[in-house]
């Protein structure tokens, strides 16, 4: 079942178009930076970008920071929102369930597919960014190959690679909250668009509340609160506090929303 769902996703042209678009933005940023050689002043603009001009090895992290706030969540919301509602809209859901695929199995397979999609998107972004970054900005020979961490201490290339991998995992995990929300909405409606938009509205609301001082008391519970905490992975030493909280918060959202999705989907009358 999982294999079937993966094949369906991979054979869908849309999957690849979305990934290509996600990948295009950081690549464009890299070319603009290389051409103009004008980076944002340290402390402004997306994370790491000011440091990238010195060392391309940091560009994957910068690329993650570029796609994280909007591009990645939008694509995740589209793909997860489509998971159940898309089948319902196409009429294939009733055939899958009468096959019988099993409702829980189908839901799990859909979740894993979304997970794979997120992982693929992150990996593609990072790999592309690494090649683009190192070829455009070099590997920081001026500093003896070492990389300047966010906190000023130097990082060895090995450390940088390890931390980039950790950052990828954290970013992918951060997307699960959105994915769970979209999957839940997808079990409620037969319109994939409505599900994706609902999940995005959830994100936009969260981002908006983060900027509001009056919302201070609920800030730690907003799903987007710890997203950018992956920057802390590039401190020396790593500042784990926000990362741990971020993981915990996402896990909570995922558990609650997927539980709701499962409860709804397994007891739902399929009338599509």
């Amino acid at each position: 079942m999982i294999g079937v769902e993966l094949v369906k996703m991979l054979r869908r042209p849309r999957t690849w178009v979305v990934i290509a678009l996600i990948d295009a933005l950081p690549t464009l940023v890299a070319f603009l930076l290389a051409l103009t050689d004008v980076g944002p002043r340290p402390g402004t603009g997306p994370a790491f970008l000011s440091a990238v001009l010195n060392n391309g090895v940091l560009f994957p992290a910068a690329a993650l920071a570029i796609v994280l706030p909007l591009f990645l969540p939008v694509s995740v919301a589209i793909v997860s929102g489509d998971s159940i509602a898309g089948e319902a809209q196409a009429g294939t859901l009733r055939y899958l369930l009468a096959r019988p695929a099993g409702r829980t199995r189908l839901l799990v397979a859909k979740l894993i597919t979304v997970l794979v999609f997120v992982a693929m998107a992150v990996v593609v972004v990072v790999v592309t960014a690494y090649f683009v970054g190192t070829s455009l900005f070099g590997t920081g020979q001026l500093l003896g190959g070492n990389i300047v961490s966010v906190s000023g201490e130097p990082l060895t290339p090995q450390q940088a690679v390890l931390r980039t991998l950790l950052a990828m995992a954290y970013v992918a995990f951060s997307m699960l909250g959105v994915a769970a929300m979209a999957v839940f909405l997808s079990t409620l409606t037969d319109s994939p668009l409505a599900a994706a938009m609902g999940a995005l509205a959830f994100l936009v609301a969260s981002s908006l509340l983060l900027t509001l001082d009056a919302a201070d008391s609920i800030r730690p519970y907003l799903p987007t609160r710890y997203w950018l905490a992956f920057v802390d992975l590039f401190r020396q030493p790593i500042l784990w506090r926000d990362i741990v909280r971020g993981v915990g918060l996402q896990a909570l959202y995922v558990a609650v929303l997927l539980g709701a999705a499962w409860a709804n989907f397994t007891t739902k009358d399929i009338k599509s």
Partner: protein, 516 residues
Amino acid sequence: MTGTAAIRTVGLTKRYGSVTAVDGIELDVPPGDIYGFLGPNGSGKTTTVRMLLGLVLPTAGTVEVLGARIPKHARSVLYRVGALVEAPAAYGHLGARANLSIMDAAGPGGSRRTRRARIDQALEQVGLAGVGRRPVKAYSLGMRQRLGIAAALLRKPDLLILDEPTNGLDPRGIQEIRQLLLDLNASAGTTIFLSSHLLSEVEHLCRRIGVVDRGRLVLQDSLAALRAPTGSVVLRTPDPEWAVGVLDGDLRERSGDRLVVRAADPAELNARLVGHGIRIIELTEERRTLEEVVLAATTGSADRVDGAVPSTTGPRAEVLSNDDSAWDRPPAGPPVPLPTRRPTAPPHWQATRDTPEPASDWQPLPTWTKPAQGAPDDPAPVTAEPGAGWAPPPTWAEPAQPAPPDSTPVPAEPGLGWQPPQNRTEPAQPAADDPAPIPAEPGLGRKASPDGAEPALPAPGDPEPGLVSGWEPPPSRTEPAQREPADPGPTPSEPGPSEAGQAGSDQSEARSEESA
């Protein structure tokens, strides 16, 4: 009937809020059967089918498919069920084979090793073998339908649950699929559960039917039993007047050259008529069409059906609510010869019960001396010719006397509910004297009970009020009653006995006069 029924539901009920979509349906489909599941749109057919497949969860009651409870044990059994639920569906960007492959891999029971061969075979069966890699979104409606059926056949299922399987197919395609289903049933013993509102479809294919109406199963029986001969014979003859004489009280209905006659044995009737030198064009046992059976079983109040969407519901809603126009429509089923638009249904029910009555009513001669008096006014053409050849039948000798110059066939008819033309002005008299057949029917009609029980109403004394009151409530069965007395009117007044086509308008005319 045993524990291994292909489909069995007990008290199956589904409520959506306060709306009861399915109400205590008890389906029983034995293995190897071809079962037709009929009902108007919105009657709960699709909801029932979805409950059989575990898509919709019942509010109450149980579903057993191939001996396993649904939805609890769906996984252990549904892979042996091929289903087509409403429209077919497929992934538009993939081809037929990829679609079938995905569906096959999505559940248990589809071995990967045999998949390719099974897909090829299924596509072959439905006539899509050469479809290639074209994506499904480029398919025509008929091709999609075929693909949907192929998906249902993929694992050589023991049970096929098909909802409108021939939707979107052209006549040849329908024929192909029908043959395919019959072959599967004959060769592999595949049980077929066919949900449809295409009556002809079901009539051609199914051996048993269940009729659902407003969520209730109102009928479940074998088609053969439902369509058993009614005990009457429909015949056409170029010599209707002679035949009428010979047939005497057995004649139940006449329109032009088409006669409906009570006769247990058509062969005997044929011999009798031919023995009298009457030529026969066509002679068939009368059977109820499936449409009549279904219409009798369903009520379908207009308000409910009006809300539903297109298809056959529209016409049917009319049929159910609007008396006359409905019956003037030719029945869809084949057995009744079409040239006349006469309703054939209602008389049957009466036929089985009231057979003796006409005879007994017929005897009092006074009754029909009256029409005989009227006869002189009658247009000559009709009566003149048969008069000569008509003499022989012994029973008729007496009646013939009162109206000497005029021919005899005329009197024959009043016995059947005929009224001479002038009695439109004074309808009460002859009608009142008329024998039972006429009044009997309104009674039946009002009950709308298919078995024709309740001969209570026929009060032979005054059919007229009965008629008037009898036909404002729609229960589809009433109108033939009114038609019966009014009907024959046109026949004598208009010399051409074969002008059945006009019957309709004439009836309505007659009726409006009567009710006024």
